[in-house]
Amino acid sequence: MVNGYVAASLSEALEIRAAHDVVPYAGGTDLMVENRPNVTYLFLNKVPELKRITVDDEFIRIGAGVTFTEALASPDVPPLMKEAVSRIAAPAIRNAGTFGGNLGNGSAKADSVLIEFVADAKLRLVSKGCERVVDVDKFYLGRKKLDLRSDELIAEILLPKQGLEQYSYEKVGGRNALAISRVSFAGVFGLEDGRITNVAAAFGAVADTVLRYKDLEATLLGKTVEEAKALKADYLRAYAERMTLTRGRVSAEYRKNVCMNLLDAFLTKFGIG
């Protein structure tokens, strides 16, 4: 027996969320497997406000209830996000799994969340009569730890419209489908007037949250490619010193080697060889 509420609109969902102790349920691809006893769900898959992909001046706004399959079919979702999403699980899971669920699950292995980190995405969180917009890295506090109040729902992911064109994306799983990431990497690069304007690098599945070191990125920002080349060795060394990987079935040493190889290859791809 599954207990739950089915919301037909966002306002109804927020009423229920405020009034009851419920677990938000979007695609259910994780919750169905968990099959927790004595839980009341709030089913969100029929809430139209959460199912939209829109574009405004600044952001591509992906509704939390948008499935991965829907995102792959959308002309508005940037290629970097599509590449990551296309590698999630298998078609049946992508048909059901959602962006909000991937975030709400609170795992550093979530493939769409990695892209949100590297893109400096924001999240719109809503509650009854209230809403706030937070940076994704402020929202993700640790393993299964989110800055989400018990009356709030994730409404939208706000991806910057510009700046995601030049990227590297790598997913290392144990096999080619239905594979949880062992290491995932996304890098975004920008160059204007010969100066590096963006050199974001994010690592998934290696720590409690997605790893990104903005202070290390800053050492290359504003530099020319030639200057960056000279700084590259120090930059890589700093990453290697900083990154402490969680232990897993696959050794931390292996996964760290992969991270460093992919980071190096990312810079090389954009001329910093």
């Binding site: 290392v172 096999r175 239905l178 292996y254 080697n257 992969v258 290859a265």
Partner: protein, 707 residues
């Protein structure tokens, strides 16, 4: 294509695809007690006592004291207890079963049991293990003389790991006391009569006191050869005590951690080479049997008989032993000991060829056995050895030699390619004279008044299609439509013992009995009458009697042959590999159903690639298996080998039905060597010695040796 090979819709297709098949877990729960095993949590200990919580009415605690007959499960030896004796020998060993109507309550009571252990030092490392369950020696020729005269001697060790069968349906058995006092045991299984013998003994009731039904079974791959005998005894003992039906279905973690897997192995090969030819092999094979001997004797026999591979080795010495460790007992898994030794011998031949500076395939071909040659056990290859033609079939499919030469040149860039090839056989049927001396298969046909014919045999359909292929053979001989002949899951109360569903024997041995029975029935057929005919196994006349004490004679009447090539690309940044193509030519004789056989070949080949690459499982320093879920123990998907090409080469076997010979196990056996040879080439000529070879292993080689 022969008419018999033309594909039909499998008899169980509609019920399985529509979800109507009833597996053991699907029987209604009303009146059935749920059984949960209390598993040992330490690898080796004396069990001082078990503090059992107070049991509510209708709940039971069942252990060795409740076994009315013999607490030893008959497998090959009798060392496996139904419920543990005064010690536990591995993590997971069943101490007791808690039974009751409510599953959650049974689990709660089970978890509330406190086992007081007096811990003993466990043996977890195969290299440190000293207790030997089985120890075999055989050979021929003058090995020492050949080594003394050799130009070069090669000495290498190869290691393989566990492999989990990963059948879709976990282990599950159910026992129901009948009003007559007889015990009815049924569930997911391969060998109804093995369970029959074991349960009768545990209950101390004689063979007529029990009967066993194979339920619809969601895959076995060997994993349900011996284990259901143990679980069958446990539920039967529980049902006897409770006086009610008891069902025990494992959850996935329980199944992966505590049930039998493929034996990890260490194989040391010393090879003498003179004038560019192998003159002698001195081979030492060690299998990790786990805590009890179960099937290790026969697994080891098959493994060591295959140890020199498909090569003519004039002087041979083989030593094999199965050692005890305090880990889950290993057992049968598709290939049954041969994947371990074929991996070793194929890698060894490849390494020698490379050292001699000659092409690996040409070197192997120069040593191939042929019809009339002696086998490793001084039997004979009585029938043609089609490997040369099969090599060319694979060559045509993938341009093996051209790619092998191209990838041998220095490569640059992130991705590096390699291709490898393995040549191997699988001995068809039981090893040695088991069919003649132990199994003595009997099969029957019963014709009803309405002209329908029922196959009466004890071989279980575990996905390999015997519910379809047996009737196909009978319908063919009787010239009946296929829907007039049927074969239900065997119940030992009504079918004769045609032997277990193992050793790639069902179709070749029992299928032939049924073919002969059908011819007999055709001759005596009278319309409107109920009639029954019976056939008994007879060993083919050409067989050289096998002496298991000396490993001398024909170990198998014939062989299924295969050539595998695997082409792959290594990502030097991540160590991951992408299989660009897997090509296999398989000779299983005449396919009795083309689609069924091809399905077997594709599935087995993919399973072999998993064994070679990603299927890694091991114990931690406490003896625990941690890779106990499908997210921690990965098996390949179709996306991992999208380009999988299997071809059938038909070398008919005159004593199999229409020329069919053993098929089920063959496709898995050779994949690891082909895969590893390809990885070696992609890594620029590294010498590799273990399988599975994971992405992590690849990156470790790159870190150490560079690329």
């Amino acid at each position: 294509m022969d008419k018999i090979s033309q594909s039909v819709v499998k008899k169980d297709h509609a019920t399985k695809i529509s979800g109507r098949s009833v597996y053991v877990a699907d029987y209604p729960s009303e009146g059935v007690l749920c059984g949960k095993l209390l598993h040992a949590k330490v690898a080796r200990a004396r069990v001082v006592r078990v503090e059992v919580p107070e049991l509510p009415e209708g709940y039971f605690y069942v252990d060795a004291k409740d076994v009315p007959g013999d607490n030893n499960v008959n497998i090959v030896l009798d060392d496996t207890p139904v419920y543990c004796r005064d010690t536990v020998e591995y993590i997971g060993e069943p101490i007791a079963m808690l039974c009751g109507p409510d599953e959650a309550e049974v689990e709660r009571l089970r978890d509330a049991c406190r086992v007081v252990y007096e811990e003993l030092e466990p043996v977890l490392d195969l290299r440190a293990a000293t207790e030997t369950f089985f120890d075999y020696h055989y050979g021929h020729g003058d090995v020492d003389g050949a080594f003394a005269e050799a130009d070069a001697i090669y000495d290498e060790e190869f290691e393989t790991g566990y492999q989990e069968q990963a059948y879709l349906e976990t282990q599950g058995m159910m026992a129901e006391p009948e009003e007559s006092g007889r015990m009815f045991v049924h569930g997911s299984s391969q060998c109804a009569y093995y369970i029959h013998g074991a349960v009768a003994r545990a209950l101390g009731c004689g063979p007529s006191g029990v009967h066993i039904l194979q339920d619809v079974t969601g895959g076995g791959f060997g994993g349900k050869e011996a284990f259901p005998s143990i679980l069958g005894c446990q539920v039967a003992v529980a049902a006897r005590k409770c006086g009610r039906p008891v069902r025990c279905v494992f959850d996935r973690r329980e199944d992966m951690e505590y049930t039998s897997k493929r034996h990890p192995s260490l194989c040391r090969y010393k090879v003498a080479v003179k004038d560019g030819r192998v003159t002698a092999m001195d081979i030492d094979v060690v299998f990790n049997a786990g805590a009890y001997s179960t099937l290790s004797a026969v697994v080891l026999q098959r493994g060591i008989i295959a140890a020199p591979g498909v090569y003519d080795v004039p002087n041979l010495r083989v030593h094999g032993c199965a050692r005890k460790t305090n880990t889950s007992p290993c057992g049968a898994y598709r290939g049954f000991g041969a994947p371990q030794t074929f991996f070793a011998v194929e890698m060894m031949m490849d390494h020698i060829a490379r050292d001699l500076g000659v092409d690996s395939l040409a070197f192997k071909q120069a040593h191939l056995v042929k019809q009339g040659d002696s086998t490793s056990t001084c039997g004979r290859y009585h029938f043609p050895v089609p490997l040369p033609a099969m090599i060319e079939e694979v060559e045509t499919a993938c341009s093996y030699r051209e790619k092998r030469a191209a990838y041998a040149k220095p490569q640059t860039g992130r991705y590096r390619r390699g291709i490898g090839m393995s040549l191997y056989f699988h001995g068809a049927g039981f090893t040695g004279s088991g069919e003649r001396d132990l199994i003595k298969a009997v099969a029957k046909l019963r014709k009803y008044r309405d002209g329908t014919v029922e196959v009466l045999a004890s071989n279980g359909d575990i996905g390999q299609g015997v519910r379809t292929t047996f009737p196909k053979i009978v319908a063919h001989e009787l010239n009946l439509p296929l829907d007039k002949v049927f074969y239900d899951h065997p119940d030992t109360a009504r079918v004769p013992d045609s032997g277990p569903t193992v050793a790639s024997r069902s179709l070749m041995i029992v299928g032939e009995l049924l073919r002969r029975a059908a011819i007999h029935l055709r001759e005596v057929w009278v319309d409107g009458e109920e009639q029954e005919v019976e056939e008994r196994y007879k060993e083919p006349d050409f067989m050289i009697p096998f002496d298991i004490t000396k490993f001398d004679g024909d170990a198998y009447p014939t062989y299924a042959w295969a050539v595998n090539a695997i082409e792959l690309e290594i990502d030097t940044l991540t160590g991951t590999s992408k299989v660009l193509g897997a090509y296999g030519s398989f000779d299983v004789g005449t396919p009795v159903d083309y689609n069924i056989v091809l399905g077997q070949m594709e599935g087995g080949f993919l399973q072999g690639i998993g064994y070679a690459s990603i299927e890694k499982m091991d114990c931690d320093d406490k003896g625990r298996i941690r890779n106990n879920s499908f997210s921690d123990y990965l098996i390949p998907t179709t996306k991992d080998v999208p380009n999988l090409r299997c071809m059938l080469h038909v070398e008919k076997y005159p004593d199999g039905p229409y020329g069919a010979k053993g098929a089920g196990e063959l496709p898995l056996v050779g994949a690891p060597a082909a895969y590893l040879e390809a990885v070696e080439q992609a890594l620029g000529g590294s010498s590799l010695h273990h399988a599975p070879f994971t992405a992590e292993d690849t990156l470790a080689v790159i870190a150490k040796e560079g690329v």
